[in-house]
Symmetry: C2
Subunit: 296 residues, 2 copies
């Protein structure tokens, strides 16, 4: 039986993975900085009262602590791991955690960076993407084992280097969240009545506003940490500069300039029409969902 310790297993993401691996037949122990033994009881797993003893006896140590604690935690526990074991993380940045896990593990211990592109509100990993970032010479048998396991549950696995990962995520995560959080902050400053506005929205706007709400509903710690991606600063600043350029044109009534930026952006984007069709399907699903709610 594979023995796994989930550090930060008392948090939402950690609990999600503890439950997942328990259902796969792993022998799970969890530990959290606040010592919530009750969560272990609820999950039906052990609580690691003696954390270093548990680290030493584990086949896998999974780090699910906040990103700003990940390197520190790796430094603390990795030296005590046994040969043939694996340390993996599930944080949303990869360069720093991979560097720390690689530096502090003894020889013979494997390292795997894992970034599940979904949150703990998802019931299963089916259809979700999980990025794995292997750690050079500290990669061995475990990469295949973890990959196969996730794939057998319908996850899409992508393999990237830690640096490529952080570059892509600076847009895919950091910029997306940033824009939605910026919208949420603007709605507040404008004192805009979101609930009332729902009456005047088409499904397109409702979907946008729901995604603003979705992000505002979740742990701000996570979203602040995603912005710490070292590649995100340039991306955020580029977005703001482009918005300023568009705004100046709109303010000045320069319709031609505005349309020119749109056309260039469309050309760079590429398959905009496929995007339109997919979003049409989503809108139709939303309408059906609303009708179902009304007749329920």
């Amino acid at each position: 039986m594979t023995r796994m310790l989930v550090l930060g297993g008392t948090g939402e993401t950690g609990s999600w993975f503890a439950k997942y691996f328990k259902e796969k037949g792993f022998d799970i122990a969890i530990w959290g900085p606040s010592g919530k033994v009750a969560i272990a009881e609820k999950l039906g797993v052990r609580y690691a009262h003696e954390i270093m003893k548990e680290v030493n006896e584990s086949d896998i140590v999974l780090l699910s602590v906040p990103i700003n604690k990940t390197s520190e935690m790796a430094k603390k526990v990795a030296p005590h791991m046994k040969p043939g074991s694996l340390i993996m993380d599930v944080t949303s940045l990869k360069s720093d955690p991979i560097r720390a896990m690689t530096t502090y593990t003894p020889k013979g211990v494997e390292v795997l960076g894992t970034h599940p592109l979904f949150g703990p509100t998802m019931p299963t990993m089916r259809g979700q993407t999980i990025i794995l970032t292997p750690a050079g010479r500290k990669t061995g048998k475990w990469l295949h084992i973890i990959r196969s396991l996730f794939e057998s549950d319908g996850a899409e696995i992508e393999i990237l280097s830690a640096e490529e990962h952080d570059n892509i995520m600076a847009v895919v995560q950091a910029l997306t969240h940033f824009a939605y959080i910026g919208l949420g902050a603007a709605l507040r400053t404008l004192d805009f009545d979101v609930e009332r506005s729902r009456k005047f929205m088409s499904p397109v706007y409702e979907i946008m506003i729901d995604f603003v709400g979705r992000i505002l509903d979740q742990n701000p710690e996570l979203y602040a940490s995603i912005q710490k991606n070292p590649k995100a600063m340039r991306v955020r600043q580029t977005f703001i500069l482009e918005c300023m350029r568009l705004c100046e044109m709109a303010d000045a009534g320069d319709e031609e300039g505005f349309k020119r930026i749109m056309r260039k952006a469309a050309k760079h984007y590429g398959k905009t029409h496929e995007a339109l069709m997919r979003s049409d399907r989503l809108i139709n699903d939303r309408i059906k969902d609303k009708e179902k709610q009304e007749y329920a």
Copy 2:
């Protein structure tokens, strides 16, 4: 038989409404500035070769020309309308068109502002919202007739004053589009590979990026004109200022400040958890849609 002239009926939105009213049994003529008679033939409606004669004989004149041409067109045709008839528009701003239509119609002609919150890619108006802005003393029997017709096809009708309409749309439309167009422009400046990035996206990010593509795929004229809403300037500028505030905090590593803005925005937003639940359903629909495509 109700006789209707659709000015701009050769365009996408105008054709959509020409087709809609034809199916309702109206006698339709269309006219467009480029004189595309073939579109009338394709729709199976008449082309108004003698535009002023047709205006004078119509029960309803529907303006579906670009927003920057709407007032000018109203000035040209409205004085020739017959008593008991109706002039209505389907543009996305309301204060200016209502003012023009009210000013130039003779006594006894009714005026109705109409803003369908959906584009011509939607197959029907079921589940879509249509805002009607009546024009004070130039409101009569037609408001009820048009309202009942749209409601019988499953549209949600909302009645607003023209000014309220423009205030709400400065956020609902102008700001939403502005943020998505700004994202599209940033992706271009960053030379970000959108197609490749789809491999590394969870459904949440895919939905966002599809809405960027959706807007970039459509007529830039429409999107530039929506930014001309006189209430939109303050809204755009507020959004940019909030983004700058967030960016400064993220750049400086001020996590507490960043989280504080998020929490305040969440509090103002209100029902964030309901938004999360709705967006979860949408994400699940999207996953099912993807699986269907893969097995098709």
